[in-house]
């Protein structure tokens, strides 16, 4: 951590000797983020996988749970979020899989790059891809099940949930990409840790849809608090995952 900090500071220090560390950090995040998003725009691997999987999950739930309009206010939020979270794991698994397959992980690790900047960039890339997939699947959910969804409110809740999912998912996908049977490990690591996020988003969406079983709690504020903890812990321990 210390080493990479000083390296990056020296590598990108400005000519007048000032140390705009915040600026350098921002530029590092931007560089990795732009690379990942460009890759995603060209291949559309993660986005397609997540989107098709989420829609397919919604259709499967329809048969499995016999989702009639009258039960949707009660089970709708759960159906939507399970579809989205399960779909997200497909994209999250690709965070480091692509770097590993192309042998570019070593390059990233040797670059004069702060590890927290790398973490934040990967997190933001995942967040953007998850949100992009959800902007399609949430309206699709509303149309398919004829639920009167306040789409901006649900997407706002989604963004808060997605921050937590991306924070934990980015950390664990870095670990899972080094294990045997890595497709198996990511969801097994991810789902138990994400229980608070899932409860928060399902309850918040339930309140928005007028679900009879939703508990009246400030779920959105709680989600913000959970996100803060997950991002902070993730940024702190990410360095240990990548020490090779």
């Amino acid at each position: 951590m210390q080493d990479s900090n000083t390296n990056s500071g020296q590598g990108l220090r400005t000519a007048d000797g000032a140390d705009p560390s915040v600026l350098v950090f921002g530029r590092q995040v931007y560089a990795v983020l732009a690379k990942d998003l460009l890759l995603e725009v060209r291949t559309k691997d993660a986005l397609t996988a997540m989107l098709v999987f989420s829609l397919l999950a919604l259709v499967t739930f329809n048969f499995a749970l016999d989702l009639r309009p009258e039960v949707m206010s009660a089970v709708g939020p759960g159906v939507l979020w399970v579809a989205l979270v399960f779909g997200s794991t497909l994209g999250l698994a690709r965070t480091f899989a692509a770097e590993r397959d192309h042998g570019t992980l070593e390059g990233l690790l040797m670059a004069p790059l702060d590890r927290s900047a790398l973490y934040l960039a990967k997190l933001l890339a995942n967040l953007i891809i998850i949100s992009a997939a959800a902007t399609v699947s949430v309206p699709a959910f509303a149309v398919l099940f004829d639920v009167a969804v306040d789409i901006p409110a649900v997407l706002g809740t989604l963004l808060l949930g997605a921050v937590g999912v991306a924070a934990v998912g980015t950390l664990f996908s870095a670990m899972a990409s080094h294990t045997r049977a890595r497709e198996v490990m990511l969801p097994i690591l991810l789902f138990p840790i994400l229980v608070p996020i899932l409860i928060g988003v399902v309850q918040a969406t339930g309140l928005a849809l007028g679900s009879p079983t939703a508990r009246d709690m400030p779920w959105l504020s709680l989600l913000v608090a959970f996100d803060g903890i997950y991002v902070a812990v993730g940024a702190l321990v990410f360095d240990f995952v990548l020490q090779e």
Partner: protein, 237 residues
């Protein structure tokens, strides 16, 4: 060298003896000394296993946290061996907590399981540390497995209170603790028995931890020796 081995052996014998004696006393007390609960009947006695096991499970996962921090700080596989040992024991005791809880719940709540806050968060806790053991098993390189599981040992433990509160806000049914109250409802015989059971179960944990950590250390040393020998043979050839 020899004297430290002898000393270690003497200490182990003392620990095992204390564990056996205190466990026997605890067992006798929960059968003969503690009164039968007037409402719940004899089923209530499982409480002297259930509560100490829950305490040991949390203690074990706390030890995993401490050893994980110790490993990441010192990079000494001895920390990791203890983390490994404690995680395994923690999963074992969490499993027993879930089972003893179900055995009690069937006659008292008339159901094996309910999605109450404490039950749910214990189950999620169990999944986190099963994932911990799986992560170890699925990561071939020992140093990497130690590093990854140390990260999970820290993240997992930080997540425990978050899961607990989020599930509690979601719903709860579990009886409030009847022990730590200003005026205790439980008779003193029950409390004394519980205290002895807690000590006994903690000793059981300590014995398991010492033996298991030593076994893991021996395994690590054997592996290192084999690697060194392979290296030497390769350099002669």
């Amino acid at each position: 060298m020899t004297s430290s081995v002898v000393q270690g052996r003497a200490r182990l014998i003392a620990l095992v003896t204390a564990t056996v004696v205190v466990s026997a006393v605890a067992l006798a007390m929960m059968i003969f000394y503690a009164p039968t609960d007037r409402v719940q009947g004899v089923v209530q006695r499982i409480f002297y296993f259930h509560v100490p096991m829950a305490w040991v499970a949390y203690l074990a996962f706390f030890v995993v946290l401490v050893c994980s921090v110790g490993y990441l700080w010192r990079r000494d596989l001895r920390w990791d061996a203890m983390a490994r040992a404690s995680a395994e024991i923690g999963v074992l005791f969490t499993t027993l907590v879930l089972i003893t809880g179900s055995l009690w719940a069937k006659p008292i709540w008339n159901t094996w399981w309910t999605w109450d806050a404490r039950l749910t968060s214990t189950l999620v806790l169990w999944f986190i540390y099963v994932a911990y053991l799986m992560l170890r098993a699925y990561t071939p390189d020992l140093e990497r497995a130690a590093r990854f599981s140390a990260v999970l040992g820290i993240v997992g433990f930080i997540d425990v209170p978050i899961i607990h509160f989020s599930v509690e806000w979601w719903r709860t049914l579990h009886p409030e603790p009847v022990v730590v109250r200003p005026d205790p409802q439980a008779p003193p015989e029950m409390l004394v028995t519980l205290a002895v059971s807690l000590v006994a179960m903690t000793l059981v944990y300590a014995t398991f931890l010492v033996l298991r950590t030593a076994l893991e250390r021996t395994r690590d040393e054997n592996r290192e020796r084999e690697q060194r020998r392979a290296l030497e043979e390769a350099s002669y050839a």
